[in-house]
Point group: C2
Chain length 207, copies 2
């Protein structure tokens, strides 16, 4: 797992390493990123790198978690979802999604990082480190789905795992599509409204 040894470094050096790693991972994705380039950019030796982190995957997950934490902090607290009716549920979700997308558009490196994660996470070698990130992101969706079911906004007639998979897949596809559009801040709300509408159509209780 993530080493406490890394956290004992002087913060500037921590940042130098994290910055180099983020740059490399965002530019090339997990597989094609080169650890050698990272240590060269960061100005440390390979021995040191492997003293701080267990593996490439360990470094990646640490970078991803740190950046994700920063994003969440910038977004502020997650609004409660299980108080109100179905309509307010969806409007709250839409609002939060809009804010998240705005933040993501503002930091394209993070966007690239998260984009690459879903491809990397399927690799067997990634399995150990995968848990950490997944436990940071999927529980949120799970909670949101459960809350949606509670207020009648989300169907309960299919297995929860299917619901989760589909929402995750749609979210991934939508994020990717959205980024490829280079969206302007003006038309974004309307676009997000369409996207949430499609998710809603998929997971809302059938008539």
């Amino acid at each position: 797992m993530a080493g406490p040894r890394f956290l004992k470094l002087p913060p500037p050096q921590q940042q130098a390493i994290l910055r180099a790693a983020l740059e490399e991972f965002a530019a090339h994705g997990f597989h094609d990123a080169s650890l050698n380039r990272v240590i060269e950019t960061a100005g440390i030796s390979k021995g040191s790198m492997y003293y701080y982190f267990d593996s490439k995957a360990d470094l990646y997950s640490h970078v991803a978690l740190t950046e994700l934490g920063g994003l969440m902090a910038r977004l502020g607290p997650v609004p409660p979802l299980d108080e109100g009716d179905a309509e307010t549920f969806w409007s709250v979700v839409e609002d939060f999604y809009l804010r998240a997308m705005r933040a993501l558009i503002a930091s394209p490196q993070l966007a690239a990082l998260l984009r690459g994660w879903s491809s990397a996470s399927k690799s067997p070698a990634f399995q150990p480190a995968q848990g950490a990130i997944e436990q940071e992101s999927t529980p949120w969706i799970e909670l949101a789905l459960a809350a949606g079911q509670k207020v009648g906004a989300v169907r309960s007639d299919v297995p929860p795992t299917l619901l989760l998979s589909v929402v995750f897949g749609m979210g991934e596809a939508m994020d990717l599509w959205l980024m490829s559009q280079e969206p302007d801040d003006e038309s974004l709300p309307a676009t997000i409204h369409s996207l949430i509408g499609m998710i809603r159509g998929a997971v809302a209780p059938p008539n």
Copy 2:
């Protein structure tokens, strides 16, 4: 691109190479598959391999295309989708999806191959070979979507590229989920019905 040189080989040797490659790619995915293992299993030298194919990605795309072609052939002709009303459109889609899934379940190696493709295809190195496969699969979805719009089964109020992305993402997620369920042939139709219902909810015209 795919070499005509490979096609000049005696068919048995072609099959030996394709079989070895399929085995390796299905078992380890694109990135973690080893070309050295493939040539060892196939009983050819590295020089020959690179005489037949330009690169690892080229070999992969050739294997994937061949297998995909075989699957399509086994499925038979694609039924016409633009004749009838929305309801028949969805029932035809559902029927075709059911047949495709049955075929996919019957050949787990092909399923593993296609599963791995979506992860591999995002890699920059894969870009050249990606086009070939994508042009084999996405046009079908595009045509289906266009037919759906013609008969009023699919919404026309969002960009077609978004529709395509979302359907692709949902399909990917559903296939993955379905495979992880080890579905039995008996309950499959009902499950597929749920899945198509979700896609329908996402892309059907809003009220």
